[in-house]
Amino acid sequence: MNAPLIGARVARKEDYRFLTGAGQYTDDVTLPNQAYAAFVRSPHAHAKIRKISLEKAQQASGVLGIFTGEDFAAAKVGGLPCGWLITDVDGQPMKEPPHPCLAQGKVRHVGDQVAVVVAETLAQAKDAAELVEVDYEVLQAVVDVASARRGPAIHEGVADNTCYVWAIGDKGACDAAFAKAAHVTKLEFVNNRLIPNAIEPRAAIGAYSRADDAYTLYVSSQNPHVERLLMTAFVLGLPEHKVRVIAPDVGGGFGSKIYLYAEDVVVTWAAKRLNRSVKWTAERSESFVSDAHGRDHVTVAELAMDKDGKFLGMRVKTTANMGAYLSTFASCIPTILYATLLAGQYTTPVIYCEVTAVFTNTVPVDAYRGAGRPEATYVVERLVETAAREMKLDPAEIRRRNFIRSFPYQTPVALQYDTGDYDATLDAAVKMADVAGFAKRKEESIKKGKLRGLGYCAYIEACGIAPSAVAGSLGARAGLFEAGEVRVHPTGSVTVFTGSHSHGQGHETTFAQVVADRLGLAIENVDIVHGDTSKVLFGMGTYGSRSLAVGGTAIVKALDKIVAKGKKIAAHLMEAAESDIEYDRGTFKVAGTDKTKTFGEVAFAAYVPHNYPHDKLEPGLNENAFYDPANFTFPAGTYVCEVEVDRDTGVVRIERFTAVDDFGKIVNPMIVEGQVHGGLAQGIGQALTESSIYDATGQLITGSFMDYCIPRATDVPMFKVDTRETPCTHNPLGVKGCGEAGAIGSPAALMNAITDALGVKDLAMPATAQTVWRSMQKAA
């Protein structure tokens, strides 16, 4: 019981239910009186709706109701809001065109919601949806990002399809740095559009009780309180206390389940209208055209150096695709979470970045695992590796010449890094990857008639986005704190309520480790509750690798209050001064004596307060805390990837993948390694297999798992992972966050390795066998 739990490889509390089929995902929930919804979606990327004919569908068996945008307009249901206001370079607010829950006269991407059919059974709902006749006037679609500003207007009042033009940094100083450079490396990139594809499709069940005039929404969400806030305050105009949002077990999110989606609103609204519970579960083909996508940047980037490879300046121009509408946090991804990371791990003194965000007739784009930081890392680390090659410097050496070594470090792009040791992670990665033996392995590959390459990526990310006041000044329309509650039961066991949400991260275990360790209790005596607005006091949810750093800290602050109150109770029970009470792993002691009270005894006294300091203290042992961080956390690390390329087929095989990360203090190394493995696979997916293709009319060609290739087991290797540790300086756990690193650092490492093998300057992601083969033919 007294072995430290922080740092231990504790097996997960949640595993038993998932391994025995006892998990409860949204689609596993069946409510009394449940009906089913099917959406009629646009088959066109851009079209006017001339007429919707519902007669045939209304006569179909089992149909309870069919609703269109007209019903929503008549009911004064609002559009879906965007949570971050970006201000244009000319001081104007970004363009925020309406994002209706059901189309109002026009559709703007394939998959846009046109109508919803609710019926007694799912089959009846789908059958009737097929009978809804929509007469479209098809318009020219805007698909290409680079030419979007010249396309026909997608939204009224946004003539050039431009949401904003935004910039950061000192352009004049940057241009001056380039003017005196000994060498400039320039690259043009496409950061390919990705489709998140959590294996659990999104689902939502709306329920309404006439007796209480109250709603319940079960939804596959990463942040139920945010979902409730946005839906009640901005869309349905309901008081929050009348809406309960439950995000039960959630089968992966990766960002795609942060947002308030139209379907969530529609089933909630329809539940009251029909006085029935209404369930909707996405088919995978619907997920492809309705879940927010990720990335999708077109960038030109330049790095200026002196003759020794010391970085003098970086200049970046990016066009970011917002898709057809602004999703919940879309606007801050290619700005606040992207351009601010362009310093990377380096002392580059001046950086200028300009971002143009455009609307196109494609699915909305928002945060996907890493959210802006993978795009920034790709720019920086492809530039740095290419610069090393052009300057004939070792890629590790050019990084060492430019590493930040003094902290805190103020970058030229707003962030201030609190701590880090980039040499430590680079040196460890070089050793673990056996870079020294690469030349020999390359010779062996050449003997077999194959190519071999090695690539680095030394990434940094900013996690636990904060503080609220700073975020607010940058345009955030929400706070970025977290809430927690520690409820001690009369016999000394503990239930902890957290505003963070677990959808694979294992919070029920990690957070219980923190609580049990700090209170000195057995982990079996601690349970973590999350995902229900009626149980958890408040929450901002889980994204941006923030759960432990922000949510965990809120819990720690509540624990501190519990111990402080416990000391007062113990002092009374042992007739000692409060200042003489010490708490040590489950026991309150009077310093210098053998007098003790256990945690359980103190808890019992709080709830059966016969002998209790009623004049000074309330009974009970239950504390809340809200925590608003002082800064971001800055996880960083170095990844080394080694590939072999088949000259005949272009097939890339990852021979070695080494990842050394600095996540600060680690609570459960087993879970952290799992997070890294998963992130690496998603980044490898971006670099090797995942291609989102729209044709010229805006049809998503890669709209199923038959066409869109998320990595399979044979596409990825066994990973070599390790960590180094510089504790975060501004949270009590010293933690930084580990959820996104793998996806942030791996694409550049992999593409650096492939371009090294092929001896080419650049190659488009994903480096499929065909892309690689074509590149080899061109070079030959």
């Binding site: 239910r17 998932f18 409860q24 995978r284 087993m670 696979a681 998320i710 990973f719």
Partner: protein, 159 residues
């Protein structure tokens, strides 16, 4: 038109009224309320719906319920011992952190059971190839592969 299908699920005789087009996975999830078997795609790619039918792993989204008439079906709910003790393959997934969000896990375990029965000491590469029909977005497969290698060893060729 409603059709009655009778089969044995997890050792228990059951029957349900279904339509001709009802998929086996719908019968399992909706009629029998065994929600451990999941649906992750429309195209028989993800394997989250994998169950055993007459001793073989199949994708229950790819056959209609009527085809299971008279069959013996094993779902994830029937894998652990009656007293709740995890099956060695389930235990191996737990010990090796072979699951994160848990959504693909039942399909992974059901596929692994069938594979391991015929491959008591598989190599890493053989395990990867056996996962051709199962997608996971969380784990990067690293710990799933380790789990199946360990689980297969613990099973010794027997379910």
């Amino acid at each position: 038109m409603a059709i009655k299908v009778s089969l044995k699920v997890n050792g228990k005789a059951v029957s349900a009224e279904v339509e001709e087009r009802t998929l086996l996975v719908s019968l399992i999830r909706e009629s029998l309320r065994l929600t451990g078997t999941h649906v992750g795609c429309d195209t028989a790619q993800c394997g989250a719906c994998t169950v055993h039918m007459n001793g073989k792993a199949i994708k229950s989204c790819s056959i209609v319920a009527m085809q299971a008439e008279g069959a013996e079906v094993l779902t994830i709910e029937g894998v652990a011992k009656a007293d709740g003790t995890l099956h060695p393959m389930q235990q191996a997934f737990k010990d090796n952190h072979g699951l994160q969000c848990g959504f693909c896990t039942p399909g992974m375990v059901m596929n692994a059971l069938d594979f391991a029965r015929n491959n008591p000491s598989p190599t890493e590469q053989e395990v990867r190839e056996s996962l051709e029909g199962n997608l996971c977005r969380c784990t990067g497969y690293h710990n799933i592969v380790k789990s199946i290698v360990a689980g297969a060893k613990a099973m010794g060729g027997k379910i």
